[in-house]
Every structure is written in structure tokens, then in C-alpha cells.
Symmetry: C2
Subunit: 354 residues, 2 copies
Amino acid sequence: MTLEEARALFPVLERIAYLNAGTFGPLARPVADALVEAVERDAEHGRSGLPYLEQTVALRDDARQAFASLVDADPAQVALTSSTTDGCAIVIRGLGLEPGDEVVTTTDEHFGLLGPLGASLATVVVVEPDPDAIRAAVTSRTRLIASSPVLWTTGAVLPLAELGAETGVPVLADGAQAVGAIPTTADGFDFLTISGQKWLCGPDATGALIVRDPERIAVTSPSYFAQTGYDPDGAYEPQAGARRLEPGWWSQGTLRAMLAALSLRPAWCFERAWDAAERCREVLSGRVEVVTPAERATLVSFRPDGEKPADVVSRLAAADVHVRELPGRGLVRVSCGWWTSDDDLDRLVAALDT
Amino acid sequence: MTLEEARALFPVLERIAYLNAGTFGPLARPVADALVEAVERDAEHGRSGLPYLEQTVALRDDARQAFASLVDADPAQVALTSSTTDGCAIVIRGLGLEPGDEVVTTTDEHFGLLGPLGASLATVVVVEPDPDAIRAAVTSRTRLIASSPVLWTTGAVLPLAELGAETGVPVLADGAQAVGAIPTTADGFDFLTISGQKWLCGPDATGALIVRDPERIAVTSPSYFAQTGYDPDGAYEPQAGARRLEPGWWSQGTLRAMLAALSLRPAWCFERAWDAAERCREVLSGRVEVVTPAERATLVSFRPDGEKPADVVSRLAAADVHVRELPGRGLVRVSCGWWTSDDDLDRLVAALDT
């Protein structure tokens, strides 16, 4: 597959310089088709019957397998979730954190991680997203390092697996901006969240949670998928592996579309996305204050000069260039994917310069 | 809208005697179209930009409003969920049940309610689904009555609101088989779960939770929708009302399709569904052991004579008659909706008699 062929997969790229995969990836034609075909099938044949249920269960197996391959995990370590928020919450609730326990996080995390941390009983220790600062914040009371291998704010990368190995503290890696964007494996993470709808270009409300040892955390919200048998008082036999943590249902369309999205990634996807982000950083550097460091993934953030970030985003949107602002941080964020062309970036620059 | 016009909305009814809304309702053409159109729009224009987000937020407001109207609640008491399981879990976790606390439930609940109860620290007291038995099980340690206004097993109705009023114990009503099937209001329930995909014929992974006093329970898994502002340690300002309990994202297609499904219900829907279930009970009564009592909703369950329930279901499916078995209970369940015709029931009987 060439870049031209790759771009032709995505209808949105025909007109729009789509630079917002950090929020939602572009939907490829085969992914949209999978959704549409499943809806038509469901409408005509009903969402019913043992074969239908068995097919759904088989598709869930396929999806777990596909996510496992993606990050070098075992399928038994994969739980299908509806978001990284979901994944973070499952882990944080499941650890049963108590008053006095500490969790180390950084100033640059998404609410999807922070919200569940804030709702826990632990003390949340917030430090700069810097390996030394994280290392220094670890005490004998630290139960978890909860952070992101790629920061959603600046695209900077953090060596979380190394920090986990050095400190011996379990690591929850919020992979929202990492998995699918840069080479990322579950290795070194006790818990890794994956977003289906961002860099993997899957349908809405999809994700996965990789758990190194699924039996180590409590299941706080068992869904029907969590069990293999139960008593009238709710005592139940948990499923083997991370399946016991799965919070809910994906439609057949969602399952088929997610599998379609995972199957169309070209071998050169990481290289191309990295190069596009490098070029993005270069072309922006002369024009605006780029805050993304050299050691980065595929997000490039900048501080506009004398213009509100929201106004920059609106102005670019009017020129069919899609980026986003980061509320409260004074930043505009550009997402570069394996489908991003030089022309997309030229359009970004031209729209900025207007 | 006549019954003929109503039936013409649902493609599945052209060929199939679809009697399984207690699992998944039939998808109407306008509902499927809403899903398909949204997917095409998302693929062509991207899931991105402030107008897109604002539109999604407005659609969520519309959906809360529509669910509120449906059960005579205030929109501020409505949280959008992905299932009744989700709703039950949000409530049970949020109550912060402690060892020694008791929850009264019945022998006839779904795992979507039982699972979260089993995962809680409370003692789960299981009694027959009978008002006297429930009343007798309430003690000074009872924190919650958690049951279903319509049992998923037999379709029998339970006067849960009255039991709550009599005992003074908060009631969690799992409305999976009630809302959309029979006239049901939130009145008298501290918590009411709604399934979007069953009797309301909405898309997969939809539901709502009605909470009489949303500020009375803890938010254990705040999503981005739960807050209006947050600190770096995860402390946050909760949204007003039940929105603070919302666990996650619905795609625009899901939102539009759910709204479409809610808008096409005819004024006579409850009467027709009740009549269809009455006729179903009558035609089955001479043939098999019907376990559904006279005081029932729109589910009719029976115990096949000398044939495994799974075999009955398969045999009927081969004749394009869709019902389901209830694993472990030896029952086959027939769901009658406002779209169910006499002919559907004749086909059921004919297939049974074959």
C-alpha cells in the first residue's frame, strides 16, 4: 500500500486536512462499510438467536486477539472496553486503594485518568511529567504510577516502563495517545489502556485494557461477560483472564468495524506518522512557539502568538484544516497520522499564515 | 399510525415472527437510517470540531429529555448509560455499601443487577419475587430493595414503588423489561434503569439511569461528561444533576437513532403490546405449561413438555420464529411488542405444534 492508496481509504481526506486523530481518527471506507452493513443486517434479520450471539462472542475473541497482537500481549490479558476512561476506572477501582495509599501522576494527564484517581481514596501526588520528578515522588506508600507513555498535551514521551522497573511500583499506562501512534507494547506495564477510536481509526466508544495479571485486581462491576455461572445472590464464577473485567456490549457493527480498522494499518504506519510529525514540527517552528519536545510521538502542540487557541482552531476549520485546542492550556494541538500528507501540512501552514 | 403502518417500519417483520424484544428490540427503518447516515457523515466530514462536539452535547440533552418524558422524570435526573447493567453498577457502587448492610433482592433477577450486588460488600438477601416475602425480608440493616418491576424470567410484575413507600427503604428498580413495555414512571423509585435496545427499539449499548436525588450517591467513575472543571489531582467540580454519573460516550449515530426510536412509538403502544401478550398467553396455555401469571407485562414464558428449551428455540428459529430460552430455568420466553401481530402468534403456535 502506498501513501496515495492509504489516503484513498479515508473519505474525509478528500476535502479536509484532517489533523485531529488524537480526538477521533478518520474513518476508513471499509470501517464505515462494516458499520453500515451490520446495521442493515441487524434491521433485516434481527439482533437475535443463538448463532447471532455465538457470532458476537467469536467476534469479541477476534477483537481481543487483534488488540493483543497489536501490543504483544496475550489475548487472555485483553478486556474490551468502551474507552480509555473505562479502562483507567476499572483498574483504579479494582486496586481497592485506601486512605494513605499514594498514586503518582503528572500535571499533563487527561480527565479520563484523573477523574477515576480523584474518585479514589488514595492521595494523588502530582509532579511534572519528567522521569526524575516521577522517581523522586515514589515513596513506600506509592501503590501506582498512573501516567501516559505519550502526553495528550504536548505529545512528549515518558519512559514509564523503565520507571516501573526501576521503582518496582505497578504502572498504569494510559495509552490513549500512544497505541497506534508509535510502537507500543504492553511489556513493562501492569495495565495499559487503548483507545479504539483515536489512532486506530475505529468506531466510537471502543477501547481495550491490557492487564498483565487479571487475577490481581478486584472486579468491581461485573457485566454478563464477566462470568461463567452465578448464584441468586450475585456470587459468581469469573471468566478466565481479563474478560472478567469487561464492562459491556459492543454491537456486531462495532466489532466488525474495529477489526476492519485494525487490519488496514500498513507496515510503514509508524514510520510515516513519525516523519509527518517531524515535518509538522519543523514547518511550525519558524511561525509559532512549538511546545512539543524533540522526544515526541505524533502530536505537535503550539502556543499561538496573540490569538486565542479557540480562534485559531475556528479559523483553521473554516479553511477545512482540523486541529483542536487544549482548554486551559493555551495550546493548539496537531495530530499527524500515517495518512497525513505533506499537502495537509502545507494547508495547515497556509491557513495559519492567512 | 395503524398496526399495519407500525409493522411496516420494521424490516425484520417482513420475514420473521420477531418475538425477542426482551433481548433486543427490532430496529425500525428510521432508526437504521439514522445510524447509517451518521456513519456516512462521520466518514466524510470527520468526527471533529467544536460544532460537532456542541451538536453531540445538544443531542445528549435531547436524549435525556426524551428519556425523562418517557418516565415522567426531570431531565436533570437522567444519566445516559450503555445498559441497565451499567445503571445498576453506578447505583450500587455509588451507595458505598459496607459489610453488615443488607440488600433485598429476588430469585428472579438478571446478572446485570446481581453481578454488581455480588461485587458489593453488602449481604444480599434473596427471597421469592413476592411482595410479602420482600416486605418480610426488610430489616433495620436493609439499605436497598433491588429488584425488577417486571421480572425477566416470567414477565410477572412486582409493586416495587409501593414496597418502597411501605418500608421506607430506597428502591433500585431494574426497568429492563418494564420501560417501553408497560406504562412505567420513575415515581416511587429512587433509581430506575432503562434499556435503550430492548422495548424501546434503540441501537445497541444504550440505556439511561433515572436518579431521584443525584447528589445523594457518590460518583465512583467520573467520565469527562461528569465534570465542569478539574484540578491536576483529579479533584473536580461535578456537573449538576445525574449527568455527573454518566459513564461515557455515545456516537452521534447512536444518539440520533435512539431519538428516532423514541419518537416513533404510537400512542396505542402499551395497549397493543398488552393485548398481544394476553393473546400469546391464551394460545400457549392449551399447549404448554405457561409460567407467566395473570398479572404480567409483555413477556410470556413457558416450560416445554419433554423437549429441551434450547431445542425448542432452535426449532422455532428454523421456522423464522424468534424467541429465546432462559438458561438454567428450563423456560422459553416470548416477547410481545406493539408491533406483534396475530399472525406472528399464529406462526409461533404452528411452529410449536410441528
